[in-house]
């Protein structure tokens, strides 16, 4: 099985072709010009991860609260995590770095505030 991806490490943007086994295991990559590309290709084709950032409403406050995952989470969970976030209730004050939702969807990753609200 083959998969084509674009490298994001630098502006060259190598088009890489990744070979995967029937069970989805990484076998080899071609088209990369540097080792960073190979590493990215392997990660991206086996367990792609993303940081998620979002805003959530705060009761009694005009400005919403910006939040992020404290570390990258599996890409396939993006929409489920956004859904979780839509039901979170927050009220001011909030301080930057504060945990808003611990261990989101059992990923072991907390959702934290990226700004303070008085």
């Amino acid at each position: 099985m083959e998969q084509t991806i674009t490298c994001i490490n630098c502006p060259v943007g190598c088009r890489m072709t990744v070979s995967l086994s029937e069970s989805g295991e990484f076998l080899s990559v071609t088209g990369n010009t540097c080792p960073r590309g190979a590493k990215y290709a392997q990660q991206e084709c086996t367990l792609p991860e993303r940081m998620i950032t979002a805003v959530i409403p705060v009761s009694g406050c005009e400005t919403p609260l910006s939040v992020k995952t404290a570390s990258p989470v599996p890409k396939k969970l993006i929409h489920d995590i956004m859904k979780e976030l839509s039901s979170v209730q927050v009220s001011a004050p909030v301080s930057i770095g504060q945990v808003i939702l611990p261990d989101v969807l059992h990923t072991g990753v907390d959702i934290i505030a990226t700004r303070s609200l008085a």
């Binding site: 991806i5 910006s66 992020k68």
Partner: protein
Amino acid sequence: MNERHVDILIIGAGPAGLAAAISARECGIESLLVIEREKNAGGILRQCIHNGFGLHRFKEELTGPEYAQRDIDKAAELGIEIECSTTVLSVSPDHIVTCVSASKGLQIIRAKAIVLAMGCRERPRGALCTPGTRCSGIYSAGTAQRFVNLEGFMPGKRVVILGSGDIGLIMARRMTLQGAKVLACVEIMPYSSGLNRNIVQCLHDYDIPLYLSHTVTDIKGRERLEGVTVAEVDDKRNPIPGTEIEFDCDTLLLSCGLIPENELSLGAGVEISPATSGAVVNETFETSVPGIFACGNVLHVHDLVDHVSNESFKAGAAAAAYVRNKQHTAPMITVKDGNGVRGTVPQQIRSDTDQPVDLMFRPSAVFRNSAAVVECGGKELVRKKSMILTPGEMALVTLKPEMLENLPGDSITVRIE
């Protein structure tokens, strides 16, 4: 009327103004004031809630508000006075600044040195000459970003984005995550000016198609936007008849370039470069008006806030040196754009500079396996090889002071070969 005197006045409390203020205070300037039009300091970073800021400066990836907060905290720790909700109306060539606020009314501030750090604006619809009706539902990408991230409401449900600059790409993802359907991102050029990372993580991740060499040729709707027509363009950027695609959408976001905001600079008599739309500066970021400095996106549009901060630290320190009367009278070396190079900053270098000078510019096209070369009268001063140079990414070549000794001419040229 309120009147006061300060040593250094900084206009704008975004990342450029904050860095300039921190640096000036660290150089020992006590009398320092930052004026900010918005209610809070932080500038555009406040609405850039995505991450990826600060990799160069802090060696970690922060969101915009987190990056801004570090500078705001540092400024507070240094006791820097920031006057928010205050709009500067004019700056005169002899450093008299007129500003207005609800709390203090009209104020006149006289400053020994001024740092211009007003940032930039997005190119509006009127500047794009897109035909069609003047309905609601058309926003610049940054306006939509403000609505969603700072004011907490969504500008629409079905979205087309014109232009593939980074703000447009970031908004394609934000609108999708917050529940809208983004139908297409349309780019008139055959390449995107956005980062690969954003094309992958903002478009590919959400299956949003990117139409290269396409543009919006019609906008439909009486009260609210009802749809747009997109067509392919030829190599002269003219729409090709018969290639039209209709999109049924209620929102069109424009991400078609940024322009430095130099109304105040012009009033102060500052010379503006046609290549950057920002001030002409020397290597200390001093403009053509003595004692008026410029840094950040008001000087030239940056891709990375890290570079803005770095440049503004230097501008703040230079303003502090100016206040202390450390003025130079050495002759200037003129910096010219050569083949493949646009908008080099600084445009002038004092021949007796004792600091390394970063020459920053934009390649005029995509160059692979090329080199940026700085030369003077046939003498090569420095050469920097690069696997790729693209218009979407600012390039940088550093000149060491010793390279500027015994030059065979009074101008140097930056070119790509």
